[in-house]
């Protein structure tokens, strides 16, 4: 525990300094529950304080539920630790597979289904540079409230980025939000009322289902196909229902990784016109896009599309910066709502993102990230094929492959994964009706980890041992399909 010092000159008591220092040490080193803390004697010697100080500090931490004392054995990190008591006992009972990966300690297991890039791909020096620059040179961003629409400089940068994607809008049509979920919440609150009917894709994003269900909205589901939402099903639903809007991922759909075909996109807009509904285009994975791709917002000339995106998947999920694009009138109403419900977003983090967009660092970071993801995607698809997995589609980019490995259901996949040190999330939550699913969402950025490889190999071996089943190295997907049915 060399990370901290205690001093009599500090205004905090020695005990409190010890308590704070130990907490920081636990957080910084990601100490695991059950780990034994240094003995009282040892810590007292290290920090040059009396034994009674250390005992007091340890006891305070026990009373906080952070440590536990085991008779005659010493003090141990409690299970659940304060950090994890949020993350396990206190975790909201949300019908959402994505929460588990968000909130469970993953340091010991490979989180193969998670929705973010690996630690090693993060670029702390790039983000840190912008943070230091804003901190040093922009005291207003450090201290002042933001204006209702969000930092003008950031909105101008976003406008330029949109223009490069052929989405031409004025800066008054852009509203910054605390991320995509916040944008969705503002939209749901301002566009929908209980009992309204909306269209969602299934499989789709579980947190969106939760948000809409919390708003008392009726959800109609459309299957996601390789080309986008199932247009026939959509047309049939539109004969009977009058939905207010359709929620969709155009590019790199979560969880299937599929992207809209141009003809599907065009037809969607036609249907939105004819049946008078809005399309809410969630482009969370926009910036992972490498090359040509279709966005409804770029095709739209009738203000049918409300576009939503964020910097959470590329820069940082912690900063909480996203935005939405709609008509100027709508944006003005949403800005009012944003102000009343949160006094606005953080000018500081918006200025950090604007700095990264303005100085070209974001563009370069994206280049590196896309190259890594493209490589990982190609490799993962090869591996999955070799190990006899079935993929829903071959994504042209992004982070996710939706795949299954017949004849195994999720329970067995998860057992084998756990034995290999891999954590999986069930695909069930991605279906609106929570149906049993043998599909899982694989994050390609983690798929070449040795633990993932061990998982794939062990599963293939297990299948080979089953009578009548054999894993072809060439990936006999027809075969595995029939075994799955």
């Amino acid at each position: 525990m060399k990370d901290f010092r205690v001093s009599k000159d500090d205004e905090l008591s020695l005990t409190q300094q010890l308590v704070n220092g130990i907490c920081r040490w636990i957080e910084a080193r990601r100490i695991r529950p059950g780990t034994r803390l240094p003995s009282i004697r040892q810590l007292a010697r290290d920090k040059q304080v009396s034994h009674s100080r250390v005992i007091e500090a340890y006891e305070r931490l026990v009373s906080l539920g952070i440590l536990e004392s085991r008779q005659g054995k010493g003090f141990f990190l409690a299970e659940p630790l304060a950090a994890q008591s949020d993350d396990a006992a206190d975790t909201p009972q949300v019908n959402d597979a994505s929460w588990q990966p968000l909130t469970q300690p993953s340091q010991d297991r490979l989180n193969l289904c998670c929705g973010w890039i690996p630690d090693a791909w993060r670029e702390p020096q790039v983000v840190g540079f912008a943070i230091r620059q804003v901190t040093r040179t922009d005291p207003d961003s450090l201290f002042s409230y933001s204006s209702p629409l969000g930092l003008p400089l950031l909105r101008q940068q976003i406008q330029q980025r949109l223009e490069r994607m052929d989405v031409r809008v004025g800066h008054e049509q852009i509203l910054t939000t605390q991320g995509v979920s916040h944008a969705m919440d503002l939209l749901v609150r301002s566009l929908l009322k209980p009992g309204d009917c909306v269209l969602v894709e299934s499989p789709g994003y579980p947190n969106l289902f939760n948000l809409l269900q919390a708003a008392g909205v009726r959800l109609l589901s459309i299957s996601r196909t390789q080309d986008g939402p199932d247009i026939r099903r959509l047309e049939a639903l539109l004969q009977e229902h009058r939905p207010r809007c359709l929620f969709i991922n155009s590019m790199y759909h979560n969880p299937t990784g599929t992207s809209l075909r141009p003809a599907t996109a065009h037809r969607l807009l036609q249907l939105a016109e004819i049946h008078d509904f809005h399309i809410i285009e969630d482009d969370t994975y926009a910036d992972l896009h490498n090359g040509a791709g279709i966005r409804l917002a770029s095709l739209d000339s009738q203000n049918r599309v409300i576009y939503v995106a964020s910097f959470s998947k590329t820069l940082s999920g912690s900063l909480r910066v996203g935005y939405l694009v709609s008509s100027a009138d709508q944006v003005r109403r949403l800005a009012q709502f944003k102000s009343v419900t949160s006094l606005g977003t953080s000018r500081f983090v918006e200025s950090v993102v604007a700095t990264l967009l303005g100085n070209g660092a974001y563009r370069k970071l994206l280049q590196r990230l896309r190259e890594r993801l493209d490589k990982a995607m190609a490799q993962t698809l090869r591996h999955l094929e070799a190990y006899g997995w079935e993929t829903f589609a071959e994504p042209v980019g992004g982070m996710f492959v939706w795949a299954r490995c017949a004849p195994f259901g999720f329970a067995r996949l998860n057992q084998v994964a756990a034995a290999c040190g891999v954590m999986l999330s069930s695909g069930d939550a991605y279906y609106l009706d929570g149906q049993d699913s043998d599909w899982i969402r694989i994050n390609v950025a983690y798929a070449d980890d040795p633990r993932a490889t061990a998982f794939f190999e062990r599963l293939a071996a297990e299948r080979d041992r089953q009578p009548g089943l054999k894993c072809s190295a060439a990936g006999d997907s027809g075969y595995s399909l029939s075994a799955a049915d």
Copy 2:
């Protein structure tokens, strides 16, 4: 415009570098609308680029609405500037005096009624130190999503602070939010439904009125007296209505600056028990408190009080960190709602605040801030008395004095203020019914500015000139009252 350089080696075009650089310069130097920009020739020479590059950049800025070109005279900062087009034209039409000061350019006028501390009182080195420390040492806070309840280390620090105020709660009873408004929004959404009836103080916080009205809730107002809400009026209302909750500031009420008397606090809790309603104690100004003071949350033993506070008034309004305290069950439900509606708060800014709380810097910063405010409060009360203003009460601390200067109504106050370079906000918005008010909220931190002094003097002189009216230097408040009626 020495703040930036352009280079052919940059991946952005020279024109775009100019555009970005000029925008940063405008923001950093707070250039005022109508200011003439450097001539094309001069900027081209400074930046060693061709004239056509500068023309292109200026024209792009014109097309963005940031500059305007005046025939034969050059380029000028447009009115409204992009920054201010949000802040004026795009500003939500919110019935809230506090928005104007939030969003209007104030660099040229003294914002005497605003709700934050002066630039010169900010402590960028203290906040900057914590930001750099988190950026350098805590990559998880820089990149990862937060857990639903908020950063455990911050919640532990908050728990300790509450304990020093005699509010004893477990860490599972604390939920971090994006500030007090966000906390209020979560509470309103989870506790209230349209048609429910709630109690608010009037005068009171306009944004709270807006939030409750947006939620379709019926508002019953109770006058704020020097001792807290008018208990007789409250008792009378409780004979006829069944309110779900009462919203209140215990300490340093906004806008009157008054604090609860212990007997009032005790009676409020009794009434909440008898009539089965919750009290939502908004303690936004908690940390400006210097010495003894009463909180409902510290008296409460029956889970009647939900406590809400933030670091916006002391550390930074930009970081957006606040919290609420309630029963563990309630907090768990609110955490779920927080997750679904925003995927959680920013771990980065929470870690910055936890650092400042943990290393003692926040406590020292508060000490300095309180000393400044106490001095400013005493001086402002002296000045107001000398200039013949009537004060609603003599606040024991905090930021605000609620005052009026008979016989002048707001319109005349505002005219004189404008002539002295002072910006005022009308007191009307603080009343639930938007009644005409001659009271204004004075922020004592700005009251010794020469522009404020000029305003007070000029007003006193004007009163002296009016027949039958005379400004007594000793502050004959009975006299000015009679003139006002």
